[in-house]
């Protein structure tokens, strides 16, 4: 029974982190038809931002999350502009395969830049919140994990509301179904594409904050 409780809690925590990354990946695939290989690096960058904000800059935890969100959002927008946008609508290429390669290239660049700047040594990402609670006969649950599940779930909820209620969210869903029709409605897909990839990367970045702590380290992998 202790094992089961431990497994279930771990699964929920891990699942909420993976879930954020998965939402981003599927959003990008649904709208741009890009299998975005840079998303893994966004998680890594998120971890490093969390480390930098908490350890180096001594920010408060909320600020660390915001910083990770903002930085990976910008990186995601840039990634789209550099590695995907020039290929949109170009004839004679296998778009999915080519962008698979170009986003993979972005991932390599990100990894090597971080490796060059921070070196190969692992960094400890401290918990955003400390302390823990015993949930069941020796199974303890750090407040950090609860906080991360809460952050993940509220981001997912917020994102869901954004997609279902807002004008931009509606446009994103419409583009995923029929890009040409959406353009006839006046949706500026050239601006919507970078925004989408930025948002998805930001979700990965926030996931990286908790991921980094979960492994207790930020490392280039």
């Amino acid at each position: 029974m202790v094992d089961i409780v431990a497994i279930v809690t771990t699964t929920i925590i891990l699942g909420s982190i993976y879930g954020l990354v998965a939402i981003g990946m599927s959003l990008i695939y649904g709208i741009l038809r890009v299998l975005d290989m840079s998303q893994g690096s966004m998680v890594m960058v998120g971890s490093f931002v969390a480390w930098g904000a908490l350890v180096v800059a001594d920010f408060n935890p909320l600020l660390a999350l915001v910083a990770a969100f903002a930085l990976t959002f910008i990186l995601g927008v840039l990634t789209q502009l550099v590695s995907v946008q020039p290929l949109v609508g170009r004839g004679g290429i296998d778009f999915e395969m080519v962008t698979f390669i170009t986003t993979f290239a972005v991932a390599m660049v990100l990894q090597n830049v971080v490796l060059e700047v921070f070196g190969p040594r692992q960094r400890n990402v401290p918990a955003l919140v400390s302390g823990q609670v015993t949930v069941y006969q020796g199974v303890t649950l750090p407040y950090q994990s609860i906080a991360m599940v809460a952050v993940s779930l509220s981001l997912m909820l917020g994102f869901g509301i954004f997609l279902s209620r807002s004008r931009y969210g509606l446009a994103i869903r419409a583009v995923a179904q029929d890009a040409n029709s959406a353009r006839l409605m006046g949706v500026p897909i050239k601006r919507l594409f970078p925004l989408t990839m930025g948002l998805a990367s930001a979700l990965a970045g926030v996931a990286g904050c908790s991921w980094g702590h979960f492994l207790r380290l930020a490392t280039v992998r």
Binding site: R173, A174, Q177, D178, N180, L184, I189
Partner: protein, 246 residues
């Protein structure tokens, strides 16, 4: 003569290397209703898609409201009041009926008035109101067509391009759809319509252009064209074999 709302000169366009339009000349004055007829596969749909910016012209010029708009994107052109209701329905299948309508009001000015515009569409097509919370893919063919046209009415149109609105509709629905188009055309909206159903063309349009082999080969009033044996013959032949694409 005032500046025409739409002036097309020497337009060549097509898909990849194959030209479909081979030198189109067409001028439409503000407030006019013009109908395009012609055999399937000769470029009617391509012409509408090129005007609305989905296809880039290879040669020639398109002026909309006095401005050269060659190569402008559809999203830019819709801002200038150009609305294209494409062939088939081109709906967003997994969005709700209501969400499909709201997408029609995407430009900010229309978005501010979206509820009012939506209610007007529901008045025109009451069937859609009862389906508001259903995904568009669950609609029948006739309802899809109504939704597609309704979505096109969710904003102010200066030039309305409609591609075969009666295709696949039951006669009763064709009448109600044409009732709506008639109403729009009576206002100050300019309409360019692709249609094969002569009964409705005669009621709507003062001018009909025949598009054949990528060119406008004849232009005249519906009655003039009807009295021309070659046009009438090829036209009637077309009705018999009418299945799909223009």
């Amino acid at each position: 003569m005032p500046t025409p709302l739409l002036a097309i000169t020497g337009l060549w366009a097509g898909y990849q290397e194959t030209p479909i339009l081979r030198g189109i000349d067409l001028t439409i004055q503000e407030g006019e209703t013009v109908v395009l007829i012609g055999p399937n596969g000769h470029g009617k749909t391509t012409l509408l898609r090129t005007i609305s910016g989905l296809i880039k012209p290879a040669l020639g010029e398109i002026h909309f409201a006095g401005q050269l708009v060659n190569g402008k994107s559809p999203e830019e052109l819709t801002g200038g009041g150009l609305i294209h209701i494409p062939q088939g329905d081109a709906l967003f299948p997994d969005l709700l009926v209501e969400e499909n309508l709201l997408m029609g009001a995407y430009p900010r000015s229309a978005w501010m008035r979206r509820n009012e515009l939506r209610d007007r569409v529901y008045e025109l097509f009451p069937q859609l109101r009862s389906r508001a919370r259903q995904p568009a893919r669950t609609l029948s063919g006739g309802e899809r067509r109504q939704l597609s046209i309704g979505r096109g009415l969710m904003r102010e149109a200066r030039l309305l391009l409609i591609d075969e609105p009666s295709l696949g509709l039951a006669p009763v629905l064709v009448d109600s759809v044409y009732g709506v188009i008639d109403e729009i055309a009576r206002g100050k909206t300019t309409v360019l319509l692709v249609e094969e159903n002569f009964k409705h063309i005669r009621r709507l349009a003062k001018r009909v252009s025949v598009l054949e082999m990528g060119r406008i080969v004849r232009t005249g009033t519906p009655d003039e064209l009807l009295s021309d044996p070659t046009v009438a013959e090829s036209y009637l032949g077309l009705v018999r074999g009418a299945t799909s694409d223009g």
